[in-house]
């Protein structure tokens, strides 16, 4: 039993150093807490408000109207149409986002740079193009889709067009950034060898990097599709159509049974997106 330091032979531990990483970790932990605490105060997070008598009463009244969910034939047909519109807005928006994100992510990614393969550095021109592509991606995704939708509703009027364009703009920024990072962190070896043997950059992408990272790209894209469905619901509240607009109306009328049907539809939609993602990744093997 080594209960005291003296019982260890000091000759054996002569070269022993305490873990040099420990102090850094401790400091990082303290700094994190010091940074997070003021944020908690600034956000005025007061969960106990939920529990005072008035809130409990209001919650109970609203929630009790949830059961049973609205299920009249007429309402369900209305929901079917609205759900379809929501999915269509999300899908069309994401497809447009893909069109913009793919070329931008290739420009932003250094993996396919021949000059980088040669000397480990980018040529000045390529570095500038890459930086511009990154800025475009930042600009696109820094504005939330809801804000784009509010602006676009002013331009193209109420309706799904605003929602589609809003999703396309924000999501092209997100997809472009993450695609570039997935390609950047994929196994570079096959791509590098193809470049060394004289393939063009795009060919190296299609024959080297894509098969290496196809699964990650697909799973991220289907996840974003799921997010786009949620996003298009939210944008319905500002008049971009779909199930969100219906939910806004039902909320204002305090029709809890209708809201609960819509919540069930949300869960089903997300579960569906999850299944699609699982199926696609499985078929890739």
């Amino acid at each position: 039993m080594y209960t005291s330091k003296t019982s260890i032979d000091t000759r054996l531990t002569e070269g022993y150093q305490p873990d040099p990483a420990w102090r850094g970790r401790l400091t990082a932990g303290i700094v994190t807490v010091l940074l997070l605490y003021p944020m908690l105060l600034a956000s005025e997070f007061q969960p106990w408000i939920l529990l005072d008598a008035q809130s409990l009463h209001a919650t109970w009244n609203f929630l009790s109207s949830f059961v049973p969910p609205a299920h009249s034939r007429e309402f369900l047909m209305l929901m079917l149409g609205a759900t379809w519109q929501t999915v269509a807005i999300a899908t069309a928006g994401l497809a447009l986002a893909l069109l913009a994100a793919t070329p931008l992510s290739l420009l932003a990614c250094t993996r396919f740079s021949v000059s980088r393969m040669e000397s480990g550095k980018l040529r000045t021109a390529s570095a500038i193009i890459r930086q511009i592509a990154r800025w475009i991606l930042v600009a696109l995704r820094s504005v939330p889709e809801l804000v784009w939708a509010l602006l676009l509703v002013r331009i193209v009027g109420l309706g799904p067009t605003a929602g589609v364009l809003a999703i396309a703009m924000t999501y092209s920024g997100m997809l472009g950034k993450v695609y570039a990072e997935i390609l950047e962190s994929s196994e570079s070896y096959t791509t590098q060898v193809l470049l060394r043997n004289g393939s063009s950059r795009l060919a190296a992408l299609f024959y080297g990097a894509l098969p290496e990272s196809a699964s990650e790209l697909i799973s991220y894209t289907t996840y974003r599709w799921e997010c786009a469905i949620r996003g298009s619901v939210v944008m319905g509240f500002v008049g971009a159509g779909g199930i969100g607009q219906r939910m806004d109306e039902s909320m204002k009328m305090l029709a809890g049974d209708e809201v609960s049907t819509m919540l069930i539809i949300f869960v089903l939609l997300v579960a569906c997106a999850d299944m699609v993602s699982g199926f696609l990744r499985k078929s890739l093997g």
């Binding site: 021949v114 070896y189 590098q192 004289g198 063009s200 795009l202 024959y207 080297g208 098969p211 290496e212």
Partner: protein
């Protein structure tokens, strides 16, 4: 001349500026079109770096380097990249994504010749699949044409990499340890296929090998590399046992007795790491 190198020194891209040791030092080398050369030397001698330099993968630090009579680092970026299609660098680890099909992996050797649209279309429906089939036949892998790469054994993958070399248009083959995953019979067969192809095309073949006996038996010209320098560059008949002993002196202990590592000059250590990075 396929390659002319005068006083070429190369520093590995990953090496720090303060690091005075180069991956290659004062390399003088002239290679005529159609020559077949074996590159031998202990691990970390710079064999892979030399092959990469010949493939224009990275620029030399000093010295003159020309390839097919052109100085690749004096021409434009695009011209240099076009020049790369004339040589084929086959790395030790076959560069094939696990989920790719063999037919696609082999046909990747045609990419420099294809337009990008042809390349994309070939992913959907393989273009010139017969060429891939013929290339695989020469390594007895024809029945793997539509298998996925991750279903192949290590030796099969290595031969697939060689099949990619066969479908390329290259006039110079730079092959890094092509036999490392093969049993002796397959090794002989693979080497013969490579050499036959090089002879038929009048392509230059430079092959790094760990099997000294095979090198001496099959290659007319042998280059011994150690610590980034050419120790000897001789016809097969002129290579003596003393030259080989000097080439591999101390270095063998790296594999067998780790305690003897201290005898190896410190300069070797970083290169060992660099050469094995794949």
């Amino acid at each position: 001349m396929t390659y002319v190198l005068k006083n070429v020194s190369v520093r590995h891209a990953a090496a720090e500026r303060s690091n005075l040791s180069h991956a290659l030092n004062d390399i003088d080398l002239t290679v005529a079109q159609g020559e077949q050369i074996a590159l031998i030397g202990p691990s970390g001698a710079g064999k892979t770096t030399l092959l990469h330099t010949l493939a224009c993968a990275h620029p030399p630090l000093f010295g003159e380097f020309s390839l097919f009579g052109v100085s690749p680092w004096a021409i434009t970026h695009a011209q240099r990249h076009a020049l790369r299609a004339h040589s084929f660098l086959a790395p030790q680890t076959p560069p094939m994504p696990p989920r790719q099909r063999v037919v696609t992996a082999v046909l990747a050797g045609r990419l420099p010749r294809w337009t990008i649209w042809q390349a994309i279309a070939s992913l959907l429906r393989p273009r010139e699949a017969e060429a891939a089939y013929l290339a695989l036949t020469r390594f007895d892998l024809q029945d793997k044409l539509y298998s996925r790469v991750d279903r192949l054994s290590g030796g099969e993958r290595q031969r697939c990499g060689m099949a990619r070399l066969l479908v390329s248009d290259a006039r110079a083959f730079l092959v890094d340890e092509p036999l490392s995953a093969l049993d002796p019979t397959l090794a002989l067969q693979t080497l013969k296929t490579l050499q036959d192809e090089a002879t038929t095309r009048n392509a230059t073949l430079i092959c790094s090998l760990h099997q000294v006996e095979l090198a001496l038996e099959h290659f007319p010209r042998i280059i011994g590399l150690r610590d980034g320098r050419i120790v000897f560059d001789a016809a097969r008949a002129d290579v003596t046992q003393e030259m080989l002993n000097a080439l591999y002196r101390n270095a063998r202990s790296l594999d067998s007795h780790s305690t003897e590592c201290k005898e190896i000059p410190p300069i070797i250590a970083p290169h060992v790491h660099l050469e094995n990075q794949y």
